[in-house]
């Protein structure tokens, strides 16, 4: 009875030790994975510089060689939106006349985010029908990476603008247009590489994407207006009933 109990006890302790070891091993593994992930994340963040300077190679490897991560893409998108807001708030009033008293930060960010996502979606929807190689994830990632010059140039320029007088505004405006042109170039090259298209086809599909996006917008607006009509029908039905009951 007692032997059995002791055996039972040792088995119990053994399993406890084992459990501990397992736990430790799992923790170590987790940590390792975390470190690896972090390494990959920072590497993919850093990779954006390569994409900027070598867009043809950069975008190909970004998607087809798994050099980019979604986390980095999200980071760039958030930075892009923040840059836009900071630009509105902090640029010297000599260069930008944003009515700060009326600005809603989230509205401002939404007004950039929504078209961005809709354009990505439209592009995916169109190219997937015409043997584009990119999945939605690839397109989204590529476009986020293409926004990096905007952040890298406009964010410093926002602060530099406070050190300029209006006569020196040409420097500011040239840098701004430079960043936008760079971004557009990256978008073009990015789509070309992601879908493995030629430049002509990419150009055509840029236009098609805009058309597609407007169709999506139209459908969304129709859907929401119908929805609100339906909702208001039930609301008025309820009101009418209450009115009659009284």
């Amino acid at each position: 009875m007692s032997a059995a109990r002791s055996a039972n006890k040792t088995a119990e302790t053994l399993t406890k030790q084992e459990l501990e070891a397992q736990k430790r091993a799992r923790r170590a593994e987790l940590k390792e994975r975390h470190v690896a992930w972090r390494k990959k994340y920072f590497a993919s963040l850093k990779y954006s510089f390569y994409v900027m300077s070598h867009p043809f190679d950069g975008f190909w490897d970004l998607v087809h060689e798994q050099r980019g991560t979604l986390a980095a893409a999200h980071t760039f998108l958030i930075l892009f939106l923040l840059t836009r807001v900071i630009k509105l708030m902090c640029t010297s009033f000599q260069f930008i006349s944003a009515p700060i008293q009326y600005i809603n930060v989230f509205e401002e960010m939404g007004s950039l985010l929504l078209p961005f996502l809709i354009l990505c979606l439209a592009n995916w929807a169109m190219t997937t029908l015409f043997d584009g190689k990119g999945r939605f994830k690839d397109i989204y990632m590529g476009m986020c990476y293409a926004m990096v010059p905007y952040v890298l140039i406009q964010l410093p320029m926002t602060f530099i603008s406070n050190m300029l007088s209006v006569d020196e505004g040409s420097l500011y405006s040239v840098m701004l247009s430079f960043s936008v042109i760079w971004c557009l170039f990256l978008v073009f090259v990015g789509l070309m590489e992601i879908h493995d298209y030629g430049p002509g086809k990419t150009f055509i599909f840029l236009i098609v994407t805009v058309v597609g996006a407007s169709v999506i917008l139209f459908l969304m607006l129709t859907f929401f207006s119908l929805l609100s009509d339906a909702a208001s029908y039930f609301v008025s039905l309820y009101r009418e009933t209450i009115f009659r009951l009284n």
Binding site: F93, Q94, S97, P99, M163, S165, V166, D167, N246
Partner: protein, 516 residues
């Protein structure tokens, strides 16, 4: 009984809900009253940088109302003023062109009282010695009276004793369409006695006569307004018959004119497309030089067009329509908007100083505002439907704005800044005051403070100027540690490299010694 109680409670609830609804509705109505045509209900306002109207203290208040009763016209002539069309002021004399009674009223001002001196119905020595629908009157420095005698097709001139001097009639010239009647509606006379008449159906500008009565051409023709789309449509898409039926592209006529102290003619224009207004293509107010070119200074963010936003569909929809203009001695011009019965005061740089007025029957409101004149700083507004003249005098606020503007024009910048500070005390929403103070402070080399004021005034150019000076000063003050940092950044790596090299050389030397 119980049921009744329940009912009572319910009725009470409904009453409460109704009360709440009423309050909400009232609140909403108030909101609507303000949003109705985009304006607050305040009487006097200015526009801020964002083109939103901002309430302001009153710049003018009603001093006197002049009408047939106060002038004693009923006892004297047994006729009330009937649709008077124009005012004229020379010194302390006020002339009312009582158009539908075919007479001109001469009134003298003494303080707050306006008394009728004489009623001009006819002149001596003329073939036709009465007037028929006189639309405008002008009196020159010598007291000669000019009348735009509409239905007699002439501008007639008489001396101060009402002796006829001469008529200015339809020019016998090829440039004047001889099939038209000569219908003068407005006139001005310059110091040399040249007469400029605005005629109905004449779109070549003002008809100009020399002092001796001879016609000498037109000045200041309004340019033809046509959009690209209109042109393409008419030129390429219409048949010849269609084109013949539609109206030709013709320049529009001016609405009114005024000659300022320097002899420049201010003209107002009410026919334009709304779209052109904010892009400054419509130019509702013009200052014409002797060649008829518009030389009005526009240094503000928006051109002088009256109201900047307006509603559609209400009874006073659309932009301001300036029916008359007057220019004070300090180059401040006041335009009268007949659309909403408002007065707009602009300084010589085209910056809106104040706007006030409304439609209505109370004092200070107009139903048919038609003409504006100034007597010193006081404004006189003629209402053709109320048949009255409202005399406005400046409040302390308006007076201070004028004094500050004048002090700046005289070059007394510090005094001007002090006056602008007084204005700010009365109205903190006044960009011009911030700018005025900023300019005075900038002259005292207080750059950083000046920058603050210019930022409040949204004055980019002056801010840039102040900022450049401030930056120069800052760099001069801080250059030593900046150089120090620069030196540190350059020298320290250099020094480190040198030391490392020396160390390396020493260790190599040691090693070679050991090897030996």
């Amino acid at each position: 009984m119980k049921r009744e109680n329940g009912r009572d409670i319910r009725v009470k609830g409904i009453k409460l809900a109704l009360c709440a609804l009423l309050i909400l509705a009232l609140l909403a109505a108030e909101g609507l009253a303000m949003a109705d045509d985009g304006f607050s209900t305040s009487y006097t306002y200015t526009y801020d940088y964002w083109e939103d109207p901002q309430e302001s203290p009153d710049a003018y208040r009603v001093a006197v109302m002049i009408d047939s009763n106060t002038l004693g016209l009923e006892n004297l002539e047994n006729t009330r003023i009937n649709r008077a069309q124009s005012l004229y002021v020379r010194g302390d004399m006020l002339y009312i062109c009582d158009t539908y009674n075919n007479r001109i009223l001469e009134i003298r001002r003494k303080g707050e009282t306006f008394s009728l001196i004489r009623v001009i119905r006819e002149m001596a020595g003329a073939e036709i010695n009465t007037f028929d629908m006189p639309y405008d009157v002008f009196v020159d420095a010598d007291g000669n009276i000019y009348v735009a005698d509409f239905n007699h097709y002439r501008v007639t001139m008489m001396d101060k004793n009402l002796n006829w001097v001469r008529d200015y009639t339809k020019p016998a010239d090829a440039t004047f369409d001889q099939s038209l009647n000569f219908l003068p509606k407005k006139l001005v006379v310059d110091v040399a006695g040249r007469v400029y008449a605005l005629c109905q159906n004449v779109n070549k500008g003002l008809v100009k006569y020399e002092a001796d009565g001879s016609f000498s051409g037109f000045i200041g023709a309004n340019e033809v307004s046509i959009t690209m789309g209109e042109y393409i449509w008419k030129r390429y898409f219409q048949t010849k018959e269609q084109r013949a039926q539609t109206a030709n592209f013709v320049p529009t006529e001016y609405e009114n004119c005024y000659i300022d102290e320097e002899g420049f003619i201010y003209a107002t224009n009410t026919v334009f497309s709304e779209y052109d207004l904010k892009w400054d293509n419509a130019k509702p107010i013009r200052r014409l030089n002797s060649l008829g070119k518009d030389i009005l200074i526009k240094n503000d963010r928006y051109p002088p067009i009256g109201d900047l936003n307006w509603s559609e569909g209400s009874d006073s929809a659309g932009p301001s329509k300036f029916t008359d203009i007057t220019v004070m001695d300090n180059d401040i011009y006041v335009a009268l908007d007949r659309n909403r019965g408002r007065l707009f005061g602009y300084d010589s740089q085209g910056v809106l100083l104040w706007a006030f007025g409304t439609k209505g029957n109370v004092e200070g409101a107009f139903t048919g505002a038609i003409s504006v004149e100034h007597m010193g700083k006081d404004l006189l507004v003629l209402d053709q439907l109320k048949n009255s003249v409202t005399v406005f005098e400046t409040t302390e606020y308006g007076q201070t704005i004028y004094e500050a503007t004048e002090a700046y024009l005289r070059g007394e910048y510090d005094e001007s800044a002090d006056l602008w500070r007084d204005v700010l005390r009365m109205n903190a929403n006044y960009p011009l005051a911030f700018r005025g103070i900023g300019r005075a402070i900038l002259r005292q080399n207080r750059y950083e403070e000046a920058m603050d004021y210019f930022e409040l005034a949204h004055d980019v150019d002056n801010y840039g100027r102040a900022y450049k000076l401030y930056r120069k000063e800052w760099v001069e003050k801080n250059v030593w540690w900046m150089m120090l940092i620069l030196a540190a950044v350059l020298i320290i790596p250099l020094a480190i490299g040198r030391v490392r090299k020396m160390k390396w050389e020493v260790s190599e030397h040691e090693r070679s010694k050991i090897r030996k």
